[in-house]
Symmetry: C2
Subunit: 225 residues, 2 copies
């Protein structure tokens, strides 16, 4: 009987893990699709990506319910407990990334009503960097690899710098010609969304380190003395 229960419990944890990865993969795909819709000026694709967010929201609710069930039924301790906490927090970040992809697509729909403006190339690079941060944070989670997670954290600065540079470029376009202003503010918003995807990937990676090492590395310098 005990062994049977253990096997059931193991299966519950592994379903949970798979659901988190599925959610992560879908969020990654949404980010890639958003920036593709931008470059190809493809409004129907942007619309489809907006609709895909419903699936992400559904996955968040499912993960939360599953965590609650496991906590109530199994009363996990030690690393299993840390995993459940991780899952509860991870879905918050992934769900926000889904929302950010929706926001990107909303800006794409607006931009597609206007003639094209330079500035996409920066966003393609930023999207690639942010998406790979999400991917590698989830990989680090699967592998239980704290070093890999630390590398993800270190990459956030580059995305922030890319954003800062892009903002300066867009400011020049706006100064050059007031007809650029509306579109430039849209591109700037998309850049900001991608910069925030990088922040969420950083949160994920910090939580992976916490889960693996049982040590919280968020907010260095803010511990009580």
């Amino acid at each position: 009987m005990k062994r049977h229960t253990d096997r059931e419990y193991e299966a519950e944890l592994s379903t949970l893990r798979e659901r988190l990865l599925l959610m992560g993969a879908k969020v990654e795909a949404m980010i890639a699709a958003s920036v593709k819709a931008l470059v190809e000026r493809d409004s129907p694709a942007a619309q489809r990506t907006i609709e895909a967010d419903l699936e992400i929201n559904r996955l968040e609710l499912e993960v939360d319910e599953q965590c609650l069930r496991v906590l109530a039924k199994r009363q996990p301790v030690a690393s299993d407990l840390r995993f459940i906490i991780f899952a509860l927090k991870l879905v918050v970040d992934l769900e926000r990334c889904g929302d950010l992809a929706v926001n990107m697509c909303e800006r794409v729909l607006e931009l597609n009503q206007e003639p094209p403006l330079r500035g996409n190339q920066d966003l393609v690079l930023m999207a690639g960097a942010a998406q790979s941060m999400i991917h590698d944070a989830l990989d680090a989670f699967v592998q239980g690899d704290a070093d890999r997670a630390q590398q993800v954290i270190a990459r956030d600065k580059a995305v922030n710098d890319q954003y800062g540079e892009m903002v300066r470029g867009l400011l020049t376009y706006m100064m050059e010609d007031p007809r650029n202003i509306y579109r430039a503010t849209r591109l700037q918003s998309i850049g900001k969304y991608l910069e925030r995807v990088g922040d969420h990937a950083t949160n994920l990676a910090e939580m992976v380190v916490f889960m693996v090492k049982g040590k919280d590395i968020r907010h260095p310098g803010s511990r009580s003395p």
Copy 2:
């Protein structure tokens, strides 16, 4: 012995509750201070608010650790378990609100290097609305009042509308005179941050409903059939 343990457990939950409220009060104060620093062009005050965020980060870590301890030691069920889950998620939203106040103050520091521009009044109104949403969501939490939480959720649309209107006004300033562009994009960012504070308050309120009713009202329409 049993009674002793129960009393200890009660005290742990009530410390946790107090810490959440303290964190909420500090976040509210940061938002109010940010917009005051904007209006009064007070860079030292903006700097102090940026520093106050360390305290918010510290409180997040403390709450997380405390939740983990309660989960491991007490294995709470039913409404106590929902409260712990609520606490773990609530600190994510509050901590992000603290970050948004920091971002506001960073923009204030930039704006204070430039001559003043119209547009503050919209931000004062938005800040008041967003801050009172946070306040009332936490009040609804303390009272266990799901109706009050629902009212907070209903107010988010007004903040979003205020933001949309403000963006249109700023676009006009930018078109009028290119010298307004840099400052207008800063004001727009502050508006966006406040709009996101409203989103976080909505998350909090949805979680209060969940905690009180045991029913998840997030993402309506995205449940599996």
